[in-house]
């Protein structure tokens, strides 16, 4: 039997998703937890591409998610187009912006890139406030239309299921991408850019492609949150969220995109669903990250894999 690459991750992911959906049921709170988790997971997956695969840390993901969110808000409020187009337009605009920003910062890497993209994210928030005519200013956009796909209006639960499916599909595709020739080149590029360049690959172009894919995925997440929450403001996607998205893949395990998804589940669990009243979610999450980094540097998935190997008899 021929094994499809990435199938193990997919099977685990789908089983996990199915269990989560069963657990959620009709409970409104749990449904919201899932849409929030899916949003975080998509932003973390978006960051995964350039950050863990190509090794460039872009912090402008608040802006990309914001573009996705504003695409939903604007198409709903200012046009008669089907709302589903927002998930086409938003990611394309975000990807285009990521390419532009990538061109402007093509000589930067590591911490320098992080600093400039961070400033970009802050300037983008300022712009959303200033560009009153387009963005609705500080009040943001609300009162969204319901999604209507060829006459079918999905219920809230169907949206929840849909967002879980989208996350699984994107994680699976990224996993495949990671193992594809392109993914191998991008990952080699991180470790030995000169060698890749010498082999005839245009490293800057590859980097831009990675950034564009990442931004597009984050925009899908931003759109999802805006739709399920019902509104978007310039402050919706904060710097805090960007830091959360950096933490997530490390928590879950950075070896596969599924780690980012698992990380999002754990992050939401720790910050929102933790039974200690009123404690700072940020504090719990920060301590959780430290514990995981110290005890299980490969993340939860890496730890589980090692455990599985130990149980299944030691090999190498």
């Amino acid at each position: 039997m021929k094994r499809v690459p990435g199938s193990i991750g997919l099977v685990c992911g789908v089983v996990g998703a199915a269990l989560i959906l069963l657990w959620v049921g009709a409970d409104g709170y749990k449904q919201t937890l899932i849409t929030t988790t899916a949003t975080y997971a998509l932003i973390a997956l978006g960051m995964y591409v350039p950050y863990l695969m190509a090794g460039s840390l872009s912090m402008a993901y608040g802006a990309y998610a914001g573009i996705g969110g504003y695409a939903v808000g604007l198409i709903s409020a200012r046009s008669g187009l089907p709302l589903i187009l927002a998930w086409v337009a938003g990611p394309i605009i975000a990807a285009a912006l990521a390419v532009l920003l990538g061109l402007a910062t093509r000589r930067l890497s590591g911490f320098f890139l992080a600093a400039v993209t961070l400033l970009f994210g802050m300037a983008f928030t300022a712009l959303l406030v200033d560009a009153e005519g387009l963005s609705g200013g500080s009040g943001g956009l609300g009162s969204l239309r319901k999604l209507n796909i060829l006459g079918w209006e999905p219920t809230h639960y169907q949206i929840v299921v849909g967002s879980v499916v989208v996350v699984c599909v994107i994680a699976f595709l990224l996993d495949r991408l990671r193992m594809s020739p392109w993914g191998v080149i991008v990952r080699t590029m991180r470790d030995a850019p000169r060698a890749v360049e010498a082999a005839g690959v245009r490293v800057p172009v590859m980097n831009l492609v990675a950034l564009a894919i990442g931004a597009a995925i984050a925009a899908v997440g931003g759109g999802l949150f805006t739709y399920s929450a019902g509104s978007v403001t310039p402050d919706t996607f904060t710097l805090n969220l960007v830091f959360l998205a950096i933490f997530m893949p490390l928590i879950g395990g950075s070896a596969t995109p599924w780690g980012a998804v698992l990380g999002a589940v754990i992050a939401v669990e720790l910050t929102l669903n933790f039974p200690v009243i009123q404690t700072s979610g940020t504090l719990i999450l920060a301590l959780g990250v430290l514990v995981i980094l110290l005890l299980a540097p490969q993340g939860v998935i890496g730890y589980a894999a090692r455990l599985a190997r130990l149980v299944g008899g030691r090999r190498g």
């Binding site: 009040g139 609300g142 929102l272 700072s280």
Partner: protein, 407 residues
């Protein structure tokens, strides 16, 4: 080397640290929680979304404390419909992406009505979730008019006068003081951007000669103040969410533009902790939009209670009074609706509250709500221009102008 020992020790250390943190925080929360007092029966659950650790914590917790005090006081006096009020509290850290889940969580814990005590961006985000949940909510200390305007405003209420009334009061004041050219120093938060828009739209009585903006976490505003000075305004209005920015603005204005009359919004008067940040005498002569009037008998009663609970040096603020009134408005509405199980009926009961005598504003000031009136304040009597003295504390009503108020 003893890798396993060091690892073991590290694990224990980490866990101990975590446990310590949780124990500490948990203990603190438990101590503040109101009990059932003399009320019996099934508790009526009120959800409180309070930013207790994020950027809004410095002001949210002032009102949060008084909300707990009000709930305890009501329970001690027999509760609502003989049933005790019970608070369930969640913390959104003023992060809009956490708000939907936090509100849903409060609802899943049985809350039938909510109090929103968090950053403005978070409350803006909350509006659409309220509509989804169908639960009414009060934002006790909100002052941004857009919070209770469409979209999604069917279920959200505020108490105090908003910027629309403020514009009239400022205009009256500027006319009385002969001010025609105004300079503005503002922070860069979205909250204030929205407030400025609404406020300045109603202030055609003055010419804006300069509007300068600084970062809300700025450590230096001398450039902005220098620009203001070049514009030669008759007076300067500082609009900010308060805290360090506001005080830094007055420190800088006080030293570089001494002699120019200064005005501010309400926040500086509501944050006694930030008065201590000011340089000696820096707030002297500053006029802010206050709403505490010590001649209001209900205010006097609340002051007495607050002094009993928080010590004699406690400075009452509008946040305390508004938090107090918000809980009592809920009590009123729940009694009218005969319970909390029917959210629609409860929402209508809130809208049927008319002429509720408030704990802030002048003695005759009242709050009324309606289907189209989500903002409680009846007229500008809830406002009072208050002047700071040379000891950096409010010294009393400004002699030159006060909002007209029918007795």
């Amino acid at each position: 080397m003893g890798v396993s020992t060091t690892r073991y020790r590290r694990v224990v250390g980490c866990l101990a640290l975590t446990a310590l943190a949780l124990a500490g925080c948990g203990g603190k929360a438990a101590e503040e929680k109101p009990n059932n007092g003399t009320a019996t029966g099934a508790p009526i659950i009120i959800g409180l979304d309070e930013d207790s650790t994020g950027p809004g914590a410095s002001y949210s917790t002032i009102a949060g404390k008084t909300i707990r005090l009000a709930v305890q006081d009501i329970n001690n006096k027999g509760g609502v419909l003989g049933r005790p009020l019970q608070l369930v509290v969640e913390n959104d850290e003023s992060d809009p992406t956490k708000v939907p889940a936090v509100l849903q969580k409060l609802s899943s814990q049985g809350a039938k009505v909510l109090l929103l005590q968090s950053g403005t961006a978070a409350i803006m985000q909350a509006k659409s979730t309220l509509t989804q949940l169908g639960l009414p909510a009060i934002a006790p200390t909100g002052v941004i008019a857009t919070l209770v305007q469409p979209p999604d405003n069917e279920l959200i209420y505020m108490l105090a006068n908003t910027t629309t009334d403020w514009a009239d009061v400022y205009c009256g004041a500027f006319k009385a003081a002969g001010i025609s050219k105004l300079g503005v120093l503002t922070d860069d938060t979205t909250t204030i951007a929205g407030l400025n828009k609404a406020l300045f739209a109603g202030m055609s009585c003055v010419e804006f000669v300069a509007t300068e903006k600084g970062a809300s976490n700025a450590s230096d505003l001398s450039a902005q103040v220098a620009r203001l000075k070049n514009a030669k305004p008759d007076a300067v209005l500082v609009t900010s969410v308060g805290g360090a920015f506001e005080v830094l603005a007055h420190n800088t204005l006080g030293s570089q533009m001494a002699g120019t009359k200064r005005f501010s919004l309400a926040s500086i008067g509501n944050q006694p902790a930030s008065w201590k940040l000011a340089a000696p005498g820096a707030l002297n002569g500053l006029i802010f939009m206050g709403s505490i009037n010590t001649e209001n008998p209900r205010t006097q009663e609340l002051v007495k209670l607050l002094h009993e609970k928080n010590g004699k040096d406690y400075d009452i603020t509008a946040y305390d009074a508004q938090a107090w009134d918000a809980v009592h408005l809920l009590k009123h509405a729940i009694e009218k609706a005969g319970g909390v199980d029917d959210s629609k009926k409860l929402n209508e009961a809130i809208q049927n509250i008319k002429k509720y005598p408030s704990t802030f504003g002048q003695a005759s000031f009242t709050l009324s709500f309606g289907a189209d009136k989500h903002l409680g304040a009846d007229g500008p009597c809830g406002l009072s221009l208050v002047e700071f003295g040379s000891d950096n504390k409010p010294k009393g009503p400004w002699a030159t102008f006060q909002p007209p108020c029918s007795k």
